[in-house]
Amino acid sequence: MSKLNLGIYWAASCGGCDVAILDIHEKILDVNDACRIHLWPIAMDFKYEDIKELEDSFLDVTLFNGAIRNSENEELARLLRRKSKVMVSFGSCAHTGGIPALANLYDKTDLLNRVYVESESTVNPEKIIPTPKTEVEESCLEIPEFYDRVYSLAQVVDVDYFVPGCPPNPERIWEVLELIISGKELPPKGSVIGATNKSLCDECEREKKDDKKIAEFRRIDRMIPDPEICFLDQGLICLGPVTRGGCGLQCVKQSAMPCRGCYGLPPDISDQGAKMISSLAPLIDSNDPDKIKEILDQQPDLAGYFYRFSMSESYLERKKP
């Protein structure tokens, strides 16, 4: 059996997804046995030109992590799509925009200003802000164009499978790779693999009350939560109910942190944040509008909280320009 041709690429991402692939530990050797890796920026040295020279659909599988933040991300996404038989959106950023997409709540100008001018650690008295083209004496310097918003991979190219997670759970990663290597029949195109259909609560062993009531939103940094009781019953916003399972409860169980939603929307849900409002709001323990507002004021960044990983794939996607 010939080896599978594999590509691994990172676009707008932190690199955690690449590291997570290494977290499958010694199984990486099995991967190496089964695959020939043609592109893996974090681990190996390859040039874009090499990819361009490959025949179309040469790569059997590409694991693409990271969101589409700039023109380079987009260019590579298009290129790899052309060169790959199977395009896998790998990790939250590629899947639904992830953390980078939180920047969708701000305009491009605001972001660049913040980073290059306003931030406390920046010294930029001339207030120079990078632009795609900069004329210098002898030539014109080009850098990738910074987009006004962050896209998910699927918003830019056709995607065959989605592996969610920030990062994906190594066990799930191995299951996915094993499935690909085994040559077994793959699930229908467009499927989310490496995650369950049920929400995280299904796996969560914390005790849940029948009649949940929230009289006060509390914050995890101000308290030590009870490890046995549902976070919602403790007044802590947990996105577990609106998030797919499969992560292995890394936050909820091992770190005693409420779920932040990285595994993305359950199958029949179209907007994670909106669903969170629909699910969470009825728990508020008051029918008095003023009191409700008061309770909600304890949580000033609802959009950031509810769309922490899914902004690009939400109904509104971004702040109105």
Partner: protein, 148 residues
């Protein structure tokens, strides 16, 4: 862009939809830019419906339910209220004026009031201008390269 506003209204079957029917049987005229969607109870309204409507081109979304205490299903309207307040607190972060979404209690006998609210809300939304969410969100015809 100057066009007629588009408004989606979700009306609960028992009070508000009946109230809107009463406006009809009483031949009360009101702004024709509202599109009514009947649901059984305002408690059925998923926040996603509101965002979906905005995304699909609505400039405003009106939700009408039974008056507090009068819900045909006892307390669905309380849920609608809480979701509504929560969405209003959040939606500004997306640059959407919270005034584009409105919750009103309309009883089965308040046909006149329904018409008044629709007119008033339409005027309010008109003043805010068109939202055109879909058009501004997506770059045109497959070209993902954005204009600077």
């Amino acid at each position: 862009m100057n066009r007629d506003p588009k408004i989606v209204a979700f009306l609960c079957h028992w009070c508000s939809y009946t109230g809107a029917d009463l406006a009809g049987t009483s031949r009360v005229k009101y702004s024709p830019h509202v599109r009514i969607i009947r649901i059984m109870c305002s408690g059925r309204i998923d926040t996603a419906f509101v965002l979906k409507a905005l995304r699909e081109g609505a400039d405003g979304v009106l939700i009408c339910g039974c008056h507090p205490g009068d819900c045909h299903y006892q307390s669905g309207n309380d849920k609608a209220l809480k979701r509504h307040i929560m969405l209003k607190q959040m939606i500004g972060q997306f640059g959407v004026e919270p005034e584009r979404i409105r919750l009103e209690w309309i009883s089965a006998s308040e046909g006149d009031l329904f018409a008044k609210i629709v007119d008033n809300f339409t005027e309010q939304v008109k003043n805010l201008g068109p939202l055109n969410w879909k058009e501004t969100m997506r770059p045109k015809s497959g070209e993902y390269h954005e204009q600077t």
